[in-house]
């Protein structure tokens, strides 16, 4: 079954995921949703890594290592981001990103 799937399919899926992520990041006003969009982007990249590794360099595992790295970093990033979001919520009573523009000062 796997033989009918080619590299292009994976790339198409990851590209779609990537742009869904970008779109979500730029249009959603909710910080949690934006965070989820970022996760989508990261996972799109993961798919790319794994797919390239599998199809182009089947004897190496570098791509898969990178995927695991990114998952670990994504976890950290989620933890930090959620901590920030909680603080923002405490301070502004909202997690709408448009109302949080204090940083420019």
């Amino acid at each position: 079954m796997l033989s009918e799937l080619h590299l292009e399919h994976f790339l198409i899926v990851s590209t779609i995921m990537f742009f869904i992520g970008i779109y979500g990041f730029l249009t959603r006003r909710n910080l949690i949703t934006m965070l989820m969009s970022i996760e989508l982007i990261l996972n799109a990249v993961n798919i790319n890594f794994v797919a390239f590794n599998y199809f182009l360099y089947p004897n190496n595992l570098h791509g898969q290592f990178f995927a695991i790295f990114i998952i670990a970093i994504a976890a950290c990033e989620a933890a930090v981001a959620i901590a920030i979001i909680i603080n923002i919520y405490r301070r502004f009573q909202t997690i709408n990103v448009e109302n949080v523009s204090e940083m420019k000062h």
Binding site: F25, L26, T27, E98, E102
Partner: protein, 640 residues
């Protein structure tokens, strides 16, 4: 004999200045006065000791007074040839000046303890007095023209500080600024002169500059410019500095206003010491003036003669007693300049030089006395105007007698000191320039007249109604008066012709009756006229004034020289020079800078909305940029 210790003479007042200046309000007035006066006493004693050892023990070698370097050190070494030194030069005129400066300064210190009693800035006053003494002593001891310039500016600063002592009084502030700016302007000439002179002669050193057989003089005047040699030009510029300090016409305008300072300051700085710095400077460089730049020396003589006549005429009409004395000072300094101007170098030719130094010495004594006595009077009646004085002889006997002695001295009545020194000057003028001689003879009469006008108006004449009866000043103030009166009487007997001459060799002098008798007669006539006009209150002075109405008005307003200066500066320089420069500065220089700032601000205004704080906008820009970059790379690598 080693003159190393002479560095102490300027150093002690410097230390006193630092102590008084740093401790300012921590010291009581009494302590400050005692420290200042004690310091000056040590300097006074050292100066007398130096004079004694120099003149009577070690100064003379083979009958000629030598120039001795007491102390010498290299201060700045720019290149091998351009070296600025500091040191002390011991020769007849510097030793004589040491005595003059330290005597008058010591007396003024004692006097000031009484005069400034209870003033707010008492300690500041004594600190500045010490600063001045330091600068003046450093000036007279300078070994080179650069050092003299440094101390020259320092005395200017101390003079500025002391004239502006009553800094809450606008007129005093204005006077101090005026004195500083006018003398600074003159010093610009001095600096140019120094540069020209040292460039031409390759030395700063007085000894090598004034050695009549040295290279500086024997090389001659150098290339000519407008008919005068470079040497002459440089010495004329140097004289410009001297004329500024010595209040010679037309740079005299600051001296009358400088009387805004406390009276002891006027006595010390604006009568006895600082204002004769110009004379001292010309005397210091005298061999070059006499040998390489005779035209420059002639100019000195004519400027001196004119100033002395000019000031004497003005002095006859002024009512502020200190201003009368200020113009008198200017007139007497004119005498000294004249004496230098008519003098030659060496032997009997150098009579004028010796007369000038002689007069400098006696003048310092009697003019300091006049000012201190005037201060004593002002202290008693609280006014400067002679219209509010009269009949004071009954109240202030000591001041009266000492003032009378000083007046007789300046009028040239024998055998007081003024007679001898003035007589020498007139003799020197008589033998060299008859025009100047007659001018100076006339000025001698004017001097006697205006001094006795002052004397009779203050001590005789009608007694005004005093709010409280004037009383004699305390002993601290009368002691210096008595001391200086004695000095005025007897300093004429000092054998100057043996001690201070142009080439260090003693000369023979003898009284020439053809000069001495007219001089004394003219002085007595001046006194007699003053006696008739001012002994008792009469309508005569007003009648005379009305008789010469136009001339009187001009004289009373000091020939409108101040107004002329104001016209030149305000109307011409401000309008036609300063204003265009200010416009250029404001529009072009500032305009460029403002333009740059404005463009930056405008550009920032335009793009500042990008900085919205909206993270998604940033994200959008970032993503757009990334996509654009990606497209460019794709286009470049794959399509082309």
């Amino acid at each position: 004999m080693d003159f190393n210790y002479t560095t102490l003479i300027p150093a002690i007042p410097l230390v006193v200045f630092l102590v008084l200046g740093l401790l300012n309000n921590k010291l009581s007035h009494k302590a400050a006065g005692i420290i200042g006066a004690t310091g000056m006493f040590v300097v006074f004693a050292l100066s007398l000791f130096t004079a004694y050892t120099y003149f009577f023990q070690v100064g003379k070698v083979d009958g000629v007074y030598q120039k001795i370097i007491g102390f010498d050190m290299t201060w700045l070494r720019f290149t091998e040839e351009l070296v600025v030194k500091m040191g002390t030069l011991i020769d007849p005129i510097s030793v004589m000046m040491l005595v003059v400066v330290s005597t008058v300064s010591f007396m003024v210190h004692i006097y000031s303890i009484g005069y400034m009693h209870g003033e707010d800035g008492f300690n500041r006053f004594f600190a500045f007095l010490s600063l001045f003494s330091f600068s003046m002593l450093g000036l007279v001891l300078a070994t080179n023209i650069f050092q003299i310039y440094i101390f020259w500016e320092l005395v200017g600063v101390s003079s500025f500080l002391l004239i502006g002592y009553y800094y809450q009084k606008p007129s005093a502030v204005a006077a101090s600024k005026k004195a500083f700016i006018v003398t600074r302007f003159a010093d610009l000439g001095f600096l140019i002169g120094i540069l020209l002179l040292s460039f031409n002669t390759k030395t700063f050193d007085f000894i090598s500059l004034t050695d009549p057989n040295g290279s500086a003089i024997s090389q001659g005047g150098g290339i000519a410019f407008m008919g005068l040699s470079v040497m002459t030009w440089s010495l004329i510029f140097v004289f410009m500095g001297g004329a500024g300090k010595s209040a010679m016409f037309p740079l005299h305008i600051w001296l009358p206003d400088a009387m805004e300072g406390p009276t002891p300051v006027s006595a010390l700085i604006h009568a006895a010491t600082m204002v004769v710095a110009g004379v001292f400077l010309v005397a210091r460089l005298f061999p070059i003036y006499a040998i390489s730049a005779p035209e420059g020396l002639e100019l000195v003589g004519y400027v001196g003669a004119f100033s002395s006549l000019f000031a004497a005429i003005i002095a006859t009409t002024q009512f502020d007693i200190k201003r009368v004395l200020a113009f008198s000072t200017m007139s007497q300094i004119g005498y000294m300049m004249v004496a230098l101007g008519v003098s030659g170098y060496g032997g009997h030719e150098g009579l004028g030089y010796m007369a000038s130094m002689f007069h400098l010495f006696t003048h310092a004594m009697f003019k300091a006395l006049l000012f201190l006595a005037a201060g004593s009077i002002i202290h008693a009646v609280h006014t400067n105007s002679m219209n509010e004085m009269g009949g004071l002889r009954k109240y202030m006997p000591i001041t009266h007698i000492t003032f009378l002695i000083a007046c007789l001295t300046i009028a040239g009545v024998p055998p007081l000191s003024g007679f001898f020194s003035k007589d020498e000057i007139l003799t020197a003028a008589f033998h060299s320039n008859k025009l100047i001689f007659f001018v100076q003879l006339f000025v001698a009469g004017l001097t006697a007249f205006y001094m006795f006008r002052l004397y009779f108006r203050i001590f005789w004449n009608k007694e005004p109604h005093y709010h409280h009866a004037p009383h004699e000043s305390p002993k601290l103030m009368t002691f210096p008066l008595i001391f200086l009166a004695i000095a005025s009487i007897f300093s004429g007997f000092i054998p100057f012709e043996e001690l201070v001459t142009s080439d260090g060799m003693p000369i023979e002098i003898h009284t020439e009756w053809i000069v001495a008798i007219p001089a004394v007669l003219v002085g007595l006539i001046g006194i007699a006229i003053a006696f008739v006009m001012y002994r008792k209150e009469s309508a005569l002075p007003d009648k005379v004034a009305n008789g010469f109405k136009f001339f009187y008005r001009w004289t009373f307003n000091k020939f409108y020289i101040d107004e002329l200066y104001l016209f030149i500066t305000k109307k011409i320089i401000f309008n036609y020079v300063s204003r265009p420069i200010a416009w250029f500065d404001r529009r072009v220089v500032d305009g460029t800078m403002n333009g740059i700032a404005n463009v930056t601000a405008k550009a920032a205004d335009l793009i500042k909305d990008f900085q919205s704080g909206q993270i998604q906008k940033y994200g959008f820009v970032f993503v757009t940029g990334a996509i654009l970059l990606a497209m460019i790379f794709i286009f470049k690598w794959f399509v082309l």
